[in-house]
């Protein structure tokens, strides 16, 4: 692993500003009626925010690849759990 990284304070502040901005945005969007798009946008914003936190506050950006593989694996597995469960729940009605 490369020597430990010290991130500049400015970067932290920039990330922080982004996070606050996205929070405001997502709340604002909640009150606009965009149909299905609402949910999609809000989830996209949440994913972006989470990625920012993980990459910079949690130093994933500078970490060895192994940690990214580990956490990526966890997310893939979570999607698997949700995906296959949802597949059942949503297609059950058409039985028979």
């Amino acid at each position: 692993m490369p020597a430990e990284h010290v991130a500049p304070v400015r970067l932290y502040l920039a990330v922080f500003a982004c996070l606050l901005g996205l929070t405001a945005l997502t709340t604002a969007i909640a009150f606009a009626d965009l149909g299905r798009l609402n949910t999609v946008i809000m989830l996209a914003i949440a994913v972006t925010k989470a990625t920012l936190v993980a990459l910079f506050f949690m130093h994933l950006w500078w970490n060895e690849r192994l940690t990214r593989v580990a956490i990526g694996g966890a997310l893939a597995w979570l999607l698997l759990l949700i995906g296959l469960t949802l597949a059942d729940v949503l297609t059950r009605a058409t039985l028979g």
Partner: protein, 215 residues
Amino acid sequence: MAELAPTVAHHFDDAEQQREAATFGMWVFLVTEVMFFGGLFTAYVAYRALYPDAFGHASNHLDVRLGTTNTAVLITSSLTMALAVRAAQVGEAPSRIVRWLAATMLLGATFLGIKLFEYGHKFHEGLVPGPAFTYTGPDARQAQLFFSLYFGMTGLHALHMVIGLALLGWLARQAIRGRFGPAFHTPIENCGLYWHFVDIVWIFLFPLLYLIGRH
């Protein structure tokens, strides 16, 4: 989750190996945390898909202003936490490390305070699942599912916050004693990872519980 040991423990070759092991170990621990919350998220997604309207109506009973405020509070606490880790990394004085930790704790406590207030409010409105549930919307039964998930998810999240606060308190004690510096700051770094993770969970809970289905 790290073994606290300022010197190299007998079974490690050197401090580098020890630090790598601790950081990697923490990430592997976070993997289990993802799956732990994952079970609840699965339940949430399944029911949201089955009862979109009921969940939409029910979510309108949550207070968006408080939710947004809490999101901002938690994000700020992540910033102060990151700065605390940084202070240790670059070898700032213990008092400065402690200052950032204290700020993080204060923000964390604020979050919990607001949450508690919200819970109290729900209690008075009869939105706590069980015999005291008095919601009378068109789909009261499914709304009860929503509030079960709401309390389950935010409750588990709050529990993590409480544990985080305890860890931070412990860190602050160690920091006062000058235990952390550029050579050794694994505990503060790992607690930071934990704290940020809890923040990320909230980043998802906020839109899922408060926002989707509003208007």
